[in-house]
C-alpha cells in the first residue's frame, strides 16, 4: 500500500519543539539540491480502512467504516481532524497553542470575510489633490490648481495616485483575500482527496502564524516558507498534490492567511 500521510494542523508549533539548526550551507550551494523532505509513513489498516495522519508526522488514526481510497464527508473529516488534534494535545500538554476561536465567532463556510476597509467612493476628479513634483515655475502649472473650477485631474504619473486608484487597489486586494478564503474552506478546491479542508484544523486561519516564516520546520527537516508548509498540509492531511509556487490558489491562500494576521508583529524564525 502507498504511503498514507495524514492530517494536521499546527505544524509550526509542533515543529517548534525541536529547534534544530540547519546545516550551514554556503549561499552559492543553495540553488543546488534542496534537502530531502521527510515523509510520514502511516500504518496500514488490517481491515483496509482509511488511515489519516496528523501533521506532526507521528500521530494517525484509522477511520472505521471508510475504506482507503474513499473520501470523507465534510462532517466526518471535521470529526477526524478534531480527534487527531485532541490526541496531539494529549501527547503535548505543554505545547504553546493559540486558543481556537469559538465556532460562533468563525465565519460560516463559504461566507465572505468581513472587509477591513471598504473602498471609499472616489472624489470627483476635478477636486483631487496631487503630491508635489513635476511643476516648473516656468510652466505655470501651479496656477492651474489654484483655479478651483478647472476640470483638472491631478496626479497623472508614477507616484501620484487618486482616491479612485486607491479604491481599486483595496478592492483588488480584498478580491484576492476572498478567493483565498474560498480555497481555504473547500477541500475540493485545493485538490483534496479525503474531504479535509484547511479550515478544519485552522478555523479562521488560526495557528497558521504566517509572520513566523521562514523558519526551521521539523516535519520538513529544513527551513520552510509559508508556502512550503501549505504544501505539506496539502500533501499530508488534505492528501492532494502540492501546488506550484505561482499557482493562483497558493497565491490566494497566502493572501488570506496574511490578511488574517494583519497587525501582528513580523517575527521570522520564531518557533
Amino acid at each position: 500500500m502507498k504511503l498514507l500521510v495524514g492530517t494536521g494542523a499546527l505544524l509550526s508549533f509542533v515543529g517548534g519543539a525541536a529547534l534544530a539548526t540547519g546545516p550551514a550551507t554556503p549561499p552559492n550551494a543553495a540553488a543546488a539540491q534542496p534537502p530531502e523532505v521527510k515523509k510520514h509513513e502511516l500504518p496500514v489498516s488490517k481491515d483496509g480502512n482509511l488511515v489519516v495522519g496528523l501533521c506532526d508526522g507521528e500521530t494517525s488514526m484509522e477511520v472505521k467504516g471508510v475504506k482507503a481510497g474513499q473520501s470523507l464527508t465534510r462532517a466526518q473529516a471535521q470529526h477526524v481532524s478534531g480527534a487527531l488534534m485532541e490526541e496531539w494535545l494529549r501527547k503535548n500538554p505543554d505545547a504553546h497553542w493559540d486558543a481556537v476561536p469559538l465556532v460562533a465567532q468563525a465565519p460560516a463556510p463559504g461566507a465572505t470575510t468581513p472587509r477591513t476597509q471598504q473602498p471609499r467612493p472616489p472624489a470627483p476628479a476635478s477636486s483631487q489633490t496631487v503630491r508635489p513634483g513635476g511643476v516648473t515655475p516656468e510652466s505655470g502649472g501651479a496656477e492651474v490648481k489654484k483655479e478651483l473650477s478647472a476640470p483638472i485631474q491631478d496626479g497623472h504619473t508614477y507616484g501620484a495616485f487618486s482616491d479612485r486608484d486607491e479604491a481599486i487597489w483595496a478592492a483588488s486586494t480584498q478580491q484576492f483575500v476572498d478567493e483565498g478564503h474560498r480555497v481555504f474552506h473547500d477541500a475540493a478546491a485545493i485538490g483534496g482527496t479525503v474531504g479535509i479542508s484547511c479550515d478544519m484544523c485552522h478555523p479562521d486561519a488560526s495557528n497558521t502564524h504566517p509572520e513566523t516564516y521562514p523558519k526551521y520546520q521539523v516535519q520538513l527537516g529544513r527551513v520552510a516558507l509559508l508556502r512550503d508548509m501549505i504544501n505539506w498540509c496539502i500533501e499530508n492531511p488534505v492528501r492532494g498534490r502540492p501546488l506550484a509556487d505561482g499557482d493562483p490558489r497558493m497565491r490566494a491562500m497566502e493572501a488570506y492567511i496574511y490578511a488574517k494576521r494583519k497587525g501582528v508583529k513580523l517575527e521570522y524564525g520564531k518557533k
Partner: protein
C-alpha cells in the same frame, strides 16, 4: 416559536415591495445592471457610476435619440454617432475625425465602449465626466459646429418631440445640462466584457490558442504591456488611466519650443479654449500639457483601454498607426526619443514571432458581439503586416542606439506565466450569465 418559513418569506416580499415603492426613481436605478458580462467589474461599475447619475431607462432612451440625431450639429450633417459609430466599435475607423463641412480635427476618435469607466474623458483628460465631455464636441467649430449653448437649446426646443421628451424625463424645459446628462446616461450603458479573454481567465483554459497564451505571457512579461495597460478582475480595462509620453507626436514636433509658445496662449481652466487648441491647432500634440500646464505632461496622452482594440483602430491619439503590428513595432524600439519620453519606455527586443503572439492575444479582447467585424479586421491587418513603417529591428534588438536592458524572457517550458494569476486571481467560479436583452 418560529413562524413557518413560507410566512416569513411572503412577509419579506411584501416589505420589500413596499420599500421599493417608497423609493424615489433615482434611488431605484442605482442597482447594478443585471446583464453585466463577466469582463465588467461590479466593483468598478459602482465606483464609476455616481448614484445621482445612474442611467435610468428613460434617460437612456432620450440619450440614445440625441446621440444619433444630426440636428444637434449646425448644418444637420453630424451626430455623436458620426464619429462614434456602433458598427465600428463606437469609433469612426478613420485616423482623425471629420466634423461639419468635412473639416478634420487633429485627434483620433476614441471608442465609447467602457468609456463610463474612464477616470477622465478625452485623450488628454480635459473633461472629468461623461456629462462634461458630451458638451464640447457639439460646440467645437470643427466637430458639430454649434455657436453656443443657447443656440443648441433653442434648436432642440424648436423640435416638439424633444420638448415633450425633456418634460417627461427631467420634468422641465430643454436645457444644455440635461441634454448632456441624457447622452451620458446612454453612454453608461455601453459596457463591454464578453470576450474570449474573459472565458480564458474565468477558468476555460482551452479558450486560448497556444499563440494567444504565449501572447498573454509576453503581455505580462517581456513585452511589458501591463506596465501601463494594467488589468485585473476589479479593473479589467487594461489601462492605468494615466497620461504618458510615448513619443508618437515627436515625429513631427520640437516639443520644447512648442511648449514655450503654448504657455503664452493657454488660458488656465478655459475648457472651450483648450478644446479648440486640442482639436484645431498644432498645439494638439502637447497633449495633457494643455490641460495642466505642467512640463512633465508635454506630449502625454491617456492610456487607452485595450478592450476591443482589434476593432477600434487606427491607433494612437492621432491615428497614425494603422495596425497592431505597427503599434508593437513602435514599442519594440522603445518609442520615439524626446525630452519628455516616459521613463518606462525602453526597447523590448521582441522577435517577429513574439510580436505575432502579442497581437494574437490583443485580438482576444474583442467583445463577442463584434466577432465578425474583428475577424475581418484581423485579416485586413494581417495583410498590411508586411508594410511596417515603424519597424526598426536593429534598435529593438539593441544592435544600435542605447535604450537599456531587456526584461527577461519568460520561460514557458518551466511554467507558463499566464497561469500565475497576474490578472489578480483566476477564479474557478463560473461567471454569471452573459445574456443580453
Amino acid at each position: 416559536m418560529r413562524p413557518p418559513c413560507g410566512v416569513a418569506l411572503s412577509l419579506a416580499v411584501l416589505l420589500f415591495a413596499q420599500a421599493g415603492q417608497a423609493q424615489p426613481a433615482e434611488r431605484r436605478a442605482v442597482s447594478l445592471p443585471d446583464d453585466l458580462p463577466p469582463g465588467v467589474s461590479q466593483v468598478l461599475w459602482k465606483l464609476s457610476v455616481p448614484a445621482d447619475l445612474a442611467p435610468t431607462p428613460e434617460r437612456v432612451l432620450l440619450g440614445e435619440k440625441l446621440f444619433n440625431d444630426q440636428r444637434l450639429s449646425v448644418d444637420n450633417t453630424v451626430s455623436c454617432s458620426t464619429c462614434h459609430d456602433a458598427r465600428f466599435g463606437f469609433t469612426d475607423a478613420k485616423p482623425v475625425s471629420e466634423g461639419v463641412k468635412g473639416q478634420k480635427v487633429t485627434r483620433n476618435s476614441p471608442t465609447l465602449l467602457n468609456a463610463l469607466f474612464n477616470a477622465s474623458q478625452f485623450w488628454d483628460g480635459r473633461a472629468s465626466t461623461l456629462e462634461d465631455q458630451a458638451k464640447l464636441p457639439i460646440l467645437n467649430p470643427r466637430e458639430m459646429g454649434m455657436p453656443d449653448e443657447a443656440a443648441v437649446v433653442a434648436k432642440v426646443k424648436a423640435i416638439p418631440e424633444y420638448v415633450r421628451d425633456f418634460q417627461n424625463v427631467f420634468g422641465r424645459e430643454v436645457n444644455f445640462d440635461d441634454l448632456a446628462a441624457a447622452i451620458a446616461a446612454f453612454e453608461r450603458t455601453l459596457y463591454s466584457g464578453d470576450a474570449k479573454f474573459d472565458r480564458f481567465i474565468t477558468g476555460d483554459s482551452r479558450a486560448f490558442t497556444a499563440a494567444e497564451r504565449r501572447g498573454w505571457a509576453l503581455f505580462n512579461g517581456k513585452a511589458r504591456c501591463n506596465t501601463c495597460h494594467a488589468g485585473n478582475v476589479v479593473s479589467p480595462l487594461f489601462s492605468d488611466q494615466k497620461f504618458h509620453n510615448i513619443g508618437i507626436a515627436a515625429h513631427k514636433q520640437d516639443f520644447v519650443k512648442l511648449a514655450r509658445e503654448a504657455l503664452k496662449v493657454v488660458r488656465t481652466g478655459d475648457a472651450q479654449q483648450i478644446d479648440e487648441l486640442a482639436l484645431e491647432t498644432r498645439f494638439s500634440e502637447l497633449g495633457r500639457f494643455l490641460v495642466t500646464k505642467q512640463e512633465n505632461d508635454v506630449g502625454a496622452f491617456k492610456t487607452p483601454t485595450l478592450r476591443n482594440i482589434a476593432i477600434t483602430g487606427p491607433y494612437m491619439h492621432d491615428g497614425t498607426l494603422t495596425t497592431l503590428w505597427d503599434v508593437m513595432d513602435h514599442y519594440n524600439k522603445g518609442g520615439v526619443p524626446n525630452p519628455y519620453l516616459d521613463g518606462g519606455m525602453q526597447r523590448l527586443g521582441l522577435t517577429e514571432a513574439e510580436i505575432d503572439d502579442v497581437v494574437a492575444f490583443l485580438f482576444t479582447l474583442t467583445d463577442a458581439r463584434f466577432a465578425k467585424y474583428a475577424a475581418k479586421e484581423q485579416a485586413r491587418q494581417r495583410r498590411l503586416k508586411h508594410k511596417r513603417p515603424e519597424r526598426d529591428t536593429a534598435v529593438a534588438m539593441g544592435k544600435s542606439g542605447n535604450l537599456g536592458d531587456l526584461a527577461p524572457n519568460p520561460d514557458l517550458s518551466v511554467k507558463n506565466p499566464a497561469d500565475i494569476g497576474v490578472y489578480g486571481t483566476e477564479t474557478l467560479v463560473k461567471p454569471a450569465s452573459t445574456s443580453r436583452p
